[in-house]
């Protein structure tokens, strides 16, 4: 059991590091989802069922969704700006 818990803790560290060093936000969202999942498993393993459930609903529904929506908005704004610029050129 101890080995398992240690491994989970190290997994969290690895996942967190991966999130930081993924520089592209779209890919990073995947990393954040993974970190959220590892954290949920960690809470489970440390007998924290309530926290684990919150982490699942936030990590699986709330956060990635908000991030993806924000990214979609950023891309759309960039597209609109680009189109405007092209229009001006013509």
């Amino acid at each position: 059991m101890t080995i398992f818990l240690l491994a989970i803790l190290l997994m969290v560290a690895v996942a967190g590091t991966a999130v930081v060093f993924t520089r592209d936000p779209a890919n990073q969202t995947v990393g954040v989802g993974f970190l959220g999942m590892v954290l949920a498993i960690m809470f489970m393993a440390f007998n924290e069922a309530d926290v684990s459930l919150s982490q699942i609903v936030i990590g699986a529904v709330g956060l990635p969704l908000m991030i993806l929506l924000a990214l979609a908005k950023l891309r759309r704004d960039a597209d609109v700006a680009e189109k405007e610029q092209n229009g001006k050129k013509r």
Binding site: L6, L9, F43
Partner: protein, 122 residues
């Protein structure tokens, strides 16, 4: 085995410090505001790890009394878990606020690079 239990505590403390610093490093070197927000979630995850190992009691069950966990018996620390529930909510809301700011900043300035959007020097 008290030695083994402390091993988990110290590993957790180390992982928490690592997450805190690596998250800060991400913020310090970030070139995209969304990346910056997500690095902040890593900083926050460090407090999860810290609280988790603090509340952990080796070999004890979750603090939920069932047919096989008799009411009033020993369990892992429920207080820390209540604190962590608050912490999880704080995380979600802070990220929501920051993403909303990011979206608007991009709309106003056309950039998401923290180094490029700063106009408030001096």
């Amino acid at each position: 085995m008290p030695g083994m239990n402390h091993l988990i505590t110290y590993t957790g403390l180390g992982v928490a410090a690592w997450m805190f610093l690596v998250g800060l490093y991400g913020i310090v070197t970030s070139r995209h505001l969304v990346h910056l927000c997500l690095c902040l979630t890593v900083v926050q995850a460090s407090t999860y790890v810290l609280l988790t190992v603090i509340g952990y009691r080796p070999g004890l069950p979750a603090p939920i009394f069932t047919d096989w966990v008799q009411a009033g018996s020993l369990a892992v620390d429920p207080v820390v878990q209540a604190l962590m529930l608050t912490d999880v909510v704080v995380e979600a809301t802070v990220v929501a606020l920051l993403l909303a700011i990011t979206v608007k900043i991009h709309k106003r300035t056309g950039s998401t690079d923290p180094a490029a959007i700063n106009v408030m020097r001096g």
